[in-house]
């Protein structure tokens, strides 16, 4: 019995090592999302292309859409943009949320890099951003036809992320093989 007790420190050490080892794989910058499973927040904001035109969450109600948070100051958005163009060509509907940006610069960006968006919400003050819990760009939300947020990605969506995080849910809620 006493002999076995000598192994307790070793067992504790191995246990602690395992816990720490598992912790290495976790991304501490990834926050648990408070909004997955909740309705997309109600908003009332001008559109990017026409400041007279007010857009609301009703404008994409009944459709499965990606809502993509982007800005011209966001470097990672440059990397992400070709993927959005590709998804748009494949028939995925994408709504842009232009976040805390300048209108002229944002419009020039769309001319220069292509426009994958159905329309863009112009959120200059970041008010919808706060309602969504946005803490950086890019972020992408998958919203179903009932206006419920089904998935959230903080950071760039690329082929790997689409395959591993979005595709299965997207196909399930649209019923379309993508």
């Amino acid at each position: 019995m006493n002999r076995l007790a000598l192994f307790i420190p070793l067992a504790l050490f191995v246990g602690l090592s395992l816990v720490l080892l598992l912790g290495l794989d976790k991304d501490p910058t990834e926050l648990p999302s408070a909004l997955v499973g909740e309705a997309f927040p109600v908003f009332n904001l001008p559109s990017l292309k026409d400041k007279q035109n007010v857009v609301t969450e009703q404008d994409f109600n009944g459709e499965v859409v990606l809502v993509n948070v982007w800005a011209t100051w966001c470097f990672a958005c440059r990397i992400e943009h070709p993927m959005l163009n590709k998804l748009s060509e494949q028939g995925v509907k994408i709504i842009g949320l232009n976040y805390k940006d300048q209108r002229a610069g944002a419009l020039a960006w769309l001319v220069e890099r292509g426009d994958p968006y159905q329309f863009n919400i112009f959120d200059a003050k970041g008010s919808l951003g706060i309602d969504l819990g946005v803490y950086g760009a890019p972020e992408t939300y998958l919203v179903d036809a009932d206006g419920i947020i089904r998935h959230r990605r903080v950071g760039v969506v690329d082929d790997r992320v689409w395959e591993s995080e979005f595709r299965a849910i997207y196909e399930q809620i649209t019923g379309v093989e993508q």
Binding site: L31, A34, G126, G129, I130
Partner: protein, 179 residues
């Protein structure tokens, strides 16, 4: 003495833990904040100390200068002006940024171990201390009774000895008388 040290240590840890939250650190994002009612200002600073910046993870809203923190500071100011309670403000932010944003997490099924662990560690420490203190005592107690028992034994033996000696003396005396 040991108890005193223990108490002193626990006092220090409590002092350290409250200091982290309540230190009146300078507000780095030095916007000039105007309140309609000055009584809101202490609550504003208290909230900024207790709420975490979602982007720059190890800073609170008071320390962080990131755009999101500026927005959230403005938002908190707005909510204070709208006479919302601290709890309502925290719930508002929690529903958007999840519990992550609270530097003082609520007690629930995910956090009970976190909150309970100091108590558990103190209890464990007390348990070890008690067991440690109890062990030498029984051996010390044993020594005293055995010593006490030995003394009466000698006393008991000596009367028997004297009676023996008396008998011996009688026998010897008898022998001497016979001789």
């Amino acid at each position: 003495m040991r108890l005193a040290i223990l108490l002193l240590l626990s006092l220090f840890t409590f002092a350290a833990s409250t200091e982290v939250i309540e230190s009146p650190g300078a507000i780095k994002g030095a916007e000039v904040v105007a309140f309609s009612d000055e009584s809101l200002r202490p609550r504003y600073h208290q909230l900024l100390q207790e709420l975490r910046c979602p982007k720059c993870q190890n800073q609170n809203l008071a320390d962080s200068n990131s755009p999101i923190s500026q927005d959230l500071r403005r938002e908190i100011q707005r909510m204070l002006e709208e006479q919302m309670t601290d709890k309502q403000i925290k719930d508002y932010l929690k529903s958007r940024y999840s519990e992550f944003i609270l530097y003082r997490p609520e007690v629930n099924k995910n956090t009970w171990l976190l909150w309970g662990s100091p108590v558990l560690v103190v209890l464990l420490g007390l348990l070890i201390l008690l067991r440690h203190n109890r062990q030498p005592k029984p051996s010390a107690n044993k020594e005293v009774p055995t010593a006490n028992k030995e003394v009466p034994k000698v006393n008991k033996e000596s009367p028997s000895n004297t009676s023996d000696q008396q008998r011996l003396a009688e026998l010897l005396g008898d022998k001497e008388n016979q001789q």
